[in-house]
Symmetry: C2
Amino acid sequence: MPAPNLLYAQSGGVTATINASAAAVIETARKFPARIGQVLASRNGIIGVLREELIDTGLESAEAIRGLRYSPGGAFGSCRFKLKSLDQDRAHYERVIEVCRAHDIRYFLYNGGNDSADTTHKLSQVAQTLGYELHCIGVPKTIDNDLALTDVCPGFGSVAKYVAVSTREASLDVLSMAESSTKVFVLEVMGRHAGWIAAAAGLAGSKDGDPPHIILFPEVPFDQARFLAAVKDAVGRFGYCTVVVSEGVKDAKGRFLAEAAPEMPSAMCNWAAQGRRLPRWCARRMATNTTGRCPITCSARHDTLPARPTSTSACRSEWRR
Amino acid sequence: MPAPNLLYAQSGGVTATINASAAAVIETARKFPARIGQVLASRNGIIGVLREELIDTGLESAEAIRGLRYSPGGAFGSCRFKLKSLDQDRAHYERVIEVCRAHDIRYFLYNGGNDSADTTHKLSQVAQTLGYELHCIGVPKTIDNDLALTDVCPGFGSVAKYVAVSTREASLDVLSMAESSTKVFVLEVMGRHAGWIAAAAGLAGSKDGDPPHIILFPEVPFDQARFLAAVKDAVGRFGYCTVVVSEGVKDAKGRFLAEAAPEMPSAMCNWAAQGRRLPRWCARRMATNTTGRCPITCSARHDTLPARPTSTSACRSEWRR
């Protein structure tokens, strides 16, 4: 009687480490041939399971699997197709069990976030109902560090480092030219509901005056007056101000800032709006040059006020400050 | 008679290597104490020279100077203040000579791009006219690889690597999910007049099918029909399409695409527009999901067409493709 097989599927947006998780699953399974037979991976996530498009990872060399540890992207493809409740999507769940039965799969490892963990749980319930023994395990994955009941979230560390380094490097660029150019710099990061990524930007500094000077979280209602005062204070004390804003920041009424501010001229209400709006808004209210940038969601705008050529006025008025 | 002094100034936007150039200047000067006395650096570039705000780099340890080799930002500050023609700005040029004379400066090293090289040249002419011996040397700096008469442009290599790596990594992410999600990915890079940075993205691939599949240059007039056909072809053959577009791409009439297309809904005519417009435009014409992103100028937008939930339709219609 050969050992039962394992099915691995990637789910949701891929992170910097989802392939490292894939490598871990495959390499570990290969250590227990008496307990785990083939390690199959579905092509493009759960869609591949439903279509019965399964990849035999046993065809890959140990070196190729080890290389996954440092490979970006999702090696087997992924999708955002979410199975709904058991009542609404029973046919899909039963199809998954049918495919598992056809390939003697007794271990199902679903590599994704909270939704995927929920799907994994529902699948185990369906398997039990149908009398098919199937060990369903969620392999955690997220950039948001917000997985339920999970202490370590693979994917978060990489984005935390990226955001902190980007904050520090970009701030050094701004500081280099703040005397005569951009003084307020807005960096927008992901995190629709959780401020962990925004908080990670705080790793960029260690002492008073280090950037970021302001971090705007989804969990803290945006206070316009307090924000402007903080920006002015930082510019006054340090010569510039770095603001890190989460895409999910909300106003006091709970509306996402990306959608809630009609007086902000941009009609594009989308998630990557803070990086553009906040700088322009600061520029108008504070009569200063601002730049917005989002290396993660990648939204930026450089706002300069044409009536204030600060560098030339500083030089033409007098030689000394 | 002590050796004459050297004045070093940083100019324009700082690059990843401007501090490496600063380190090279200082370390080299320190090797020739009989010929070069103090190495002074002006604070915030040419503004600092005009204000006579000079930093004595001799106060820094060898280790601190060596550390500049890998330091981002501009250690002494920089500005974009450009001295105009000799007729228009004579007072400024004469002020620079006055400051040099006051500090026994006989070497002026100006670390910047084409404009700074021009200023350096004009300064040498003024010095000659005033009978003050001053060796004026331009130290090259650019990300655009477009310095006149210059073979190696410090600053370009770093951005070339960054753009190539970003193109490859982001494309892997897109490819991972292209089956049911984004199929057209637009990456906007800098280069208002020169396409070197966009060309560097081409380093990301080596064989047919590797991204980027399309590069749009400032030097090549944008052809709408040809572009769409190329996008469709890539999606058809490879499942997705990565487009790298220079911020300076122009239409057949020579107008910057960022400004020339009224039918494109965004009213924000700025340099970072391609990363938003092209995807939306592609999405409408091709009925496909697109994402725009600019890690350099940082402008992005994720466009999805709400009427086409591709992942669910692929699964509900039938199990097999």
